[in-house]
């Protein structure tokens, strides 16, 4: 599919992402201006505050955006997931350039002009409104312009906390190795940044002191433009509200990879078929879905027992599937008041993969078979596998593995391509990855039973289950209903054949319903 076809197929969705992206930026910038300009003015009056406040704003900007979102999630009122968290983070990022340029602009007003203003008997307020602010306006607009461009960039990360925007395409594109998605997401954000830069640059030049004749007209123009933007924003806000304010809906969440999206889509479509309105809050990063569930932002999401056991409950690795499931069920009800469904029928565990040709030549069946060869091999692993307890450190110890060099740490979905093209010789993929067969890769059996069981389950809020009968029904139907092959097939349809999850899920449900 070329980019043009992609645009034709995904036009409305792309427009929605652009709109969400722009609104996030706009709301954040308006708030940052409302805080930043008065703060900047205060700093020009109180010299002792200047160092600490500018220092703090500086530190804010050095925090990596993903880390800042991470800090904000557990906080009450301003934290959580979704739009509000994203706006808080964006405001924090936008403050520095606005405050700094307000201070610089006002302090940069010619001392003679300022002295004349004082000597003419102007009050501090009159000097500020009639002299300092008009003369500093061009510099202040530059600050807003810088803040806006930064915010448009940072907003792409906001997709990780479920705030939407063009970042959704960027994350999805990275995951699925889909250049059309990447181009639409990154290119769209870049175009938006260029557009904002151009428009604000226009106002900045109009406010420049050398062209002061235009100031009054520019002020009017800026006011009119702001009004139009506020009206549009208000319209979007209201239109957004009406759709999300329907009652008795179930909010379905998912993690940020294809399989999780597909599993979430399955439960979503089953609920919709039962007449329950569903809101989809998909593609949440890291352990966000768990936090979102606890914060009542979502009602249900697909999880793996092994992840719940080690990453959330923080138990040491355990390889007995029944014990893990039992413990997870017990702890989730007791600690979180959350219900863990029956397993869906397949496991998604780490799969140690090598090229098929290699496996046949060396007659490799198990990981133990591969031990003598690994000293000549290079390995590539996703960031996740490199760091978690049940990942590389324990794995290499369990099999006493030695590689030719330190394993490359890279994006999980890129490791498949690296393996296929001979850049590396062994990777740890997912057992349900659709591309395993398509790429002629072979999974080596975990003969020392090192990897813990990752059985797929749904985790739901207990009150939602009690309230919505259709949800209970659906979960009962799905127990043991999805085989590993079916899951691989669905993943393959989405990742390799670039079909949408709703479409793939509809087909699978139709087949299941026919049985």
């Amino acid at each position: 599919m070329n980019f043009w076809q992609f645009l034709q197929q995904n036009g409305p969705e792309l427009v929605a992402h652009v709109r969400d992206h722009f609104l996030l930026v706009l709301i954040s910038i308006v708030i940052a201006i409302a805080i930043g300009i008065p703060a900047g003015i205060l700093l020009t009056r109180k010299k002792s505050l200047r160092g600490p406040v500018l220092g703090l704003a500086n530190i804010m900007q050095t925090i990596p955006s993903l880390a800042l979102f991470g800090f904000l999630i557990p906080l009450p009122f301003i934290g959580g997931i979704g739009t509000r968290t994203a706006v808080v983070a964006l405001v924090l990022y936008s403050l520095l350039p606005i405050i700094r340029n307000t201070v610089t602009g006002i302090l940069g007003v010619d001392v003679n002009v300022r002295e004349a203003a004082v000597a003419m008997g102007m009050t501090d307020g009159q000097i500020l409104r009639q002299v300092e602010l008009p003369l500093a306006m061009s510099v202040i607009v530059t600050g807003v312009r810088v803040a806006m461009v930064i915010a448009i960039g940072v907003t792409t990360i906001a997709a990780a906390v479920g705030a939407g925007g063009l970042g959704v395409y960027i994350f999805r594109g990275l995951r699925q190795n889909d250049n059309n998605l990447l181009l639409a997401g990154a290119g769209g954000a870049a175009l938006m940044a260029l557009g904002a830069d151009f428009i604000l640059g226009f106002f900045e030049r109009r406010f420049a002191v050398t062209r002061q004749k235009n100031v009054q007209r520019s002020g009017l123009l800026l006011a009119a433009a702001s009004l139009v933007i506020v009206v549009i924003a208000g319209f979007f806000y209201l239109s957004g509200r009406t759709s999300s304010e329907q009652s008795a809906r179930v909010v379905v969440g998912s993690k940020d990879f294809t399989e999780s999206v597909i599993l979430a889509e399955i439960i979503a479509q089953m609920l919709e078929k039962g007449g329950i309105p569903v809101e989809r809050t998909f593609e949440l990063g890291g352990n966000l879905p768990h936090d979102a569930l606890l914060a009542r932002k979502i009602d249900i999401y697909p999880e793996y027992t092994g992840t719940a056991y080690t990453a959330i409950l923080r138990y040491p690795v355990n390889t007995d599937p029944a014990k893990v499931l039992e413990q997870v069920k017990k702890d989730y009800v007791g600690k979180f008041n959350l219900v863990v469904s029956e397993p869906l029928g397949f496991e998604n565990t780490f799969a140690i993969l090598v090229r098929g040709a290699e496996a046949r030549r060396l007659k490799l069946k198990t990981v133990s078979d591969a031990i003598p060869h690994t000293v000549k091999w290079r390995a590539g692993f996703g960031q996740d596998f490199m760091t978690r307890d049940d990942g590389y450190p324990g794995f290499s110890k369990a099999y006493s593995l030695q590689f030719a060099e330190r394993p490359r740490e890279m994006d999980l979905s890129l490791t498949y391509i690296a393996l296929q093209s001979g850049q590396v010789d062994l990777i740890a993929g997912n057992s349900t990855e659709g591309r395993i067969a398509a790429m002629d890769l072979v999974q080596l059996e975990d003969d020392r039973r090192y990897f813990p069981p990752y059985e797929a389950v749904y985790i739901a809020r207990r009150d939602t289950i009690d309230k919505v009968g259709q949800l209970r029904e659906a979960l009962t139907k799905l127990a043991g209903a999805i085989t590993t092959d079916e899951m691989r097939q669905m993943n393959y349809e989405v990742d390799a054949n670039k079909r949408t999850p709703p479409e793939v899920v509809r087909e699978w449900l139709a087949r299941k319903g026919g049985n």
């Binding site: 002295e115 000597a119 008997g121």
Partner: protein, 261 residues
Amino acid sequence: MDEPVHNALVEFRDVGFRHSAASAAVISHLTFNVQRGETLVLLGKSGCGKTTTLKLINRLLVPTSGQVLVNGSSTSDWDPIRLRRQTGYVIQEGGLFPHFSVGRNVALVPELERWPASRTQSRVSELLAMIGLPGDFAARYPAELSGGQRQRVGVARALAADPPLLLLDEPFGALDPLTRVGLQREFSVLARSLNKTVVLVTHDVREALLLGTRIGLMDQGQLVLLETPAAFLASTDAHALAYIETLKLPAAVSDQEDLSA
């Protein structure tokens, strides 16, 4: 004020000023009067404290010792805003607001004083005529004027609300010699015809002699001489002689020309 025969509009009483307790005094033990209607010129090198002295009058600075009285009241008792609106102030290059038209610059104090628009309007026209600028200059911006024109506008702005007292800090310093002499003559006529009390700061002894009814010579924060121009020229004070010396150089040049002729 009630003090009966008080002919001094500005009075310095043993005034000292330092920027902070730790720093050296900028001026010290300054005592003199400015009479109503006179033009007092403060003459001195850069850093001698003459600009500081000027700023003490409209309370841009407050004395750290002694008192400055304007119209009989200490400046620290004056509401600074009231005091400044009754005191015209002109600085080098005019200190005009670059984002205001000439008309708005001149109208500044009348507008702050909430004069009716029609009165402000006619005052601006009157002042532009007085400083010899065509009426259509009101719509121009400072960047579109020459240095001399900006300086004239600066004077017009200071005169707008008809204040009894005018303070000028090196008003003609940045101008070319021909423009400067022209403006100095015009200003001297203007100040006398309007009967203003003027305090003018300069380092140019010719300007002091041309404009001053009295000349106050300052050195290292102190007033070393306060005389009429005639008495100043006849003075044997070392500081005054140094200034008078600078006037003689052109005479020597003309002597040489006589010899060669």
